[in-house]
Amino acid sequence: MNLRLVEANARRFAALGDPTRLQVFALIARSPLSVAEVAAQLPVSRPAVSQHLRVLADAGLVQLESVGTRNLYRPDSDGVATLRDFIDSLWDVALARFRLQAERVARQRAAAARKTRETR
């Protein structure tokens, strides 16, 4: 078992667990962007974007690249790993949200059923 790989994946995973950070990563995964360009596409301030990018960089998901005078963030790993991470993390995030929502609906319906019985 490659413990370092598991730990690295867990870090990436935690970094993508935040919805805003996932959005930032989704944008970067499509094309390299500067902090300002990311901020322009999200309802998030530049300092907040910088903070998210630092977390993503620490997790090994994005890296900083200087092109001329521009500082661009791009996916850290090659396209293959990025795609795999993307699909996998997408379903993790989506299913976590699904679970919370399904449980919320189940609680609401159970409460409504109780109320109906009580008012009878």
């Binding site: 994946n9 499509r30 795999r84 299913l95 929502q101």
Partner: protein, 169 residues
């Protein structure tokens, strides 16, 4: 000469999640209410913000998003509709989240009752080799159960509600 064999282990993403909801509710929320949980803000393909995600409830139905501008963008279609136990969706979005009619990957979702109030949801996203030759290079990582289990457990902690299924645990 026999045709070249299918890859022994094509890249697949498998996920299991245990949900504290009855079977029918879990299925309904997953399909009819997909827009209530799909991370639409970050995962949609239209130019405009996403207003709705729709899975038409029948085999052959469309799976699409509708932007706030009213424009519909197809993600794929319904291959199998066996409410409330199974739905198979054809996912035709590329890695860049663009519709690609030539791309055919399948999202197979099975729902089974653990008890009257609890449902096991097993999701398999298969056919990832359709993403191209690159996908085959991913196989080693996909085949690393320790890696995925570790990530699943970690996610359960991150999500703060450790109900994600941990085999044998």
């Amino acid at each position: 000469m026999s045709p070249s064999p299918q890859p022994a282990a094509a890249p697949v993403v498998r996920k299991t999640v245990i949900v504290a909801a009855p079977l029918a509710v879990a299925f309904e929320v997953f399909t009819a209410q997909i827009e209530s949980w799909w991370p639409m803000a970050s995962h949609h393909i239209g130019e405009a913000a996403c207003a709705a995600v729709v899975i038409e409830p029948r085999a052959g139905g469309r799976w699409y998003e509708r932007g706030v501008d009213g424009v519909e963008c197809v993600w794929g279609r319904v291959l199998v509709w066996e409410a409330p136990r199974r739905v198979v969706l054809v996912w035709q979005l590329s890695a860049q989240f663009r519709f690609d009619p030539a791309l055919h990957t399948e999202v197979d979702v099975r729902f089974s009752a653990v008890d009257a109030r609890t449902t096991r949801v097993e999701l398999e996203h298969r056919g990832l080799e359709a993403f191209g030759a690159d996908a085959m290079a991913m196989r080693d990582t996909f085949d690393s159960p320790n890696g995925w289990n570790g990530m699943l457990e970690h996610f359960a902690q991150v999500a703060g509600r450790p109900r994600a299924h941990a085999p044998g645990g």
